[in-house]
Symmetry: D2
Subunit: 204 residues, 4 copies
Amino acid sequence: MSVSEQAVYERQGFGQALGIQGRIGLLIVDFVNGFADPAVFGGGNIAPAIARTAQVLEKARQRGWFVAHSRIVYADDGSDGNVFSIKVPGMQTLTEHAAISAIVPELTPVPGELVVRKTVPSAFFGTGLAPWLTQRGVETLLIAGATTSGCVRASVVDAMCHGFRPVVMADCVGDRALAPHEANLFDIGQKYGDVVPAERILAL
Amino acid sequence: MSVSEQAVYERQGFGQALGIQGRIGLLIVDFVNGFADPAVFGGGNIAPAIARTAQVLEKARQRGWFVAHSRIVYADDGSDGNVFSIKVPGMQTLTEHAAISAIVPELTPVPGELVVRKTVPSAFFGTGLAPWLTQRGVETLLIAGATTSGCVRASVVDAMCHGFRPVVMADCVGDRALAPHEANLFDIGQKYGDVVPAERILAL
Amino acid sequence: MSVSEQAVYERQGFGQALGIQGRIGLLIVDFVNGFADPAVFGGGNIAPAIARTAQVLEKARQRGWFVAHSRIVYADDGSDGNVFSIKVPGMQTLTEHAAISAIVPELTPVPGELVVRKTVPSAFFGTGLAPWLTQRGVETLLIAGATTSGCVRASVVDAMCHGFRPVVMADCVGDRALAPHEANLFDIGQKYGDVVPAERILAL
Amino acid sequence: MSVSEQAVYERQGFGQALGIQGRIGLLIVDFVNGFADPAVFGGGNIAPAIARTAQVLEKARQRGWFVAHSRIVYADDGSDGNVFSIKVPGMQTLTEHAAISAIVPELTPVPGELVVRKTVPSAFFGTGLAPWLTQRGVETLLIAGATTSGCVRASVVDAMCHGFRPVVMADCVGDRALAPHEANLFDIGQKYGDVVPAERILAL
């Protein structure tokens, strides 16, 4: 983003900080094998983001934060094909038992962690995620995952709309290409959530 | 976007076309005085986008397409402040009778056109827009409005999630800064909807 | 409900208590002039339910509980007519400035209380109510209003789905006819929320 | 319902007919083994409702109507327990591979039919059902299933809210106890959808 463009946002009052308050949740978006693999939907800076997220997940488990994961899962028979799978036909290969739809080994959920299946970008749309967080009194939602310009961005916007304070850990989100990664972190920081380094969270 | 980054998306199968089919709706997002005014939330290429949208709106009325508008409207007493208005405090000045929250004169709704009030980016979230379109059998949703990187992008993603085929008219959407405008059109075209010039629609 | 039917529900494990915990919200559903007037949508036991609710509202304000009201409001030009208004055409007379759509004088909202406009039974569907409660960390939602078999029942079911613990105050909800009132309190108590006398709440 | 109570509804203009129009969908709610078995969540008139629904399903397949089924499915590890499973703890025994959560053999889905998993009463809440129907241009939604006073009622209300015309086939829905079955058919017919005998549909 150019200096002059940042100035426009600043002059109009965008980009205030939300801060961390109340009970904390951690949402890990679509860190599945297919998004770790550059030959499928991966590439870019996704691999280091997964490694960094493993540290945050360990912290969350130590601290008892509420942990949720999302996976893209389409039906084996193609019955739930949708507009997203028309734009990106390969999505429908992410079926329940396909290796590419499984959460990466470093981040395997443990009992009690929520795993939501979805067929759209946002982890909130058409899932039980918001009610699950609401029932547990979560106010701040830490967000990691892939891709920054896709399912992460959509989940951040929805987290905010549902009344949660989204905090995106910049080195825990990744994308197959860096320009969209950066452009979307800019939008998020200006309008939807806080963008912080993971070390800020690891130090809590 | 660099050539190499576009290649990544192409290799992974993104960016297929949806096409226009079935009954058509037109959604005009937040083209209100405050987003037309560079001293409030406007600037960039928003003014020409409004002028171009006026032509599409005329076409829609001639053809009997279903037309919906959205406005950001917060309560006078601040009771509905939310996470979005913490990030961007000026949003709460867009109250029901404030001049800046009124739809621009060129696009004033006529009886029978839906006007949805919202306090979040997407015109679908927490509104009756999706049911209204569903009841009328709309399949393809043309989208105009401001800003490309904000309420337009969020509305496009939700349109897709709700089962509509979003078609963004590139010269009918605008933003206060051009880099986010371009970056978000790229994301939309790759993953969420078709991006076409308005002339394609005016020729229908 | 006959004794034998209650026994079926008991044998299958329905009807457990939720209890009151965490931050408390109060939702007052559609206690507007038109539902207080037997010549419009009122009758039955609605009048005493309004009187009792006024006591609970006073308590809520004293205690600082989060208070939300709902109103049915259709557009003046009929543009937002829906399936509900096909089933019950008179609903579309509840326009913004119609006296029958105004909240009854005994329960007039004060600044800071949320008022949601809706065109469907549930106060949650297509509104910002759930995010508003979530952002404020509400866990238990007290519910009053009209009608028990209509907008109250729908709001209770949605409150539960969104992750809140619904507590219906039996003498603060009313209906135009008593058999549906009783039948719906039975369903609610068995499956969706606690049903308690208002005195239980006034004693908190 | 007494004659005088029906008169109140009639005088206030409730109970207009919606009719059948446009593309047709068939939703079969929770006809799984556990709701067919009186020792689990079944009983009452559920068995004959299943038999009658099998005839409608055959008709739907012949005619190419869009068919969707719902199942209640909770996670094996209890991680998605919610307010509904606090009210009715036995719900959490309906896990993915439990025999009681499988759709009854008479109604086994065929490829291309949507199956939505849910943990709340409505087949629409937190699922992809509404977008799936919207994308396919469905306007009228035929509804069968169990129980009339629970998941059927909730699904009918949500179908209406999402913009579909719900048509409940009275002899294709059942409940563990007959009084709630009848009371809820009354509410549905007055406010949310049409209630017709299945023969009306079989004759289409």
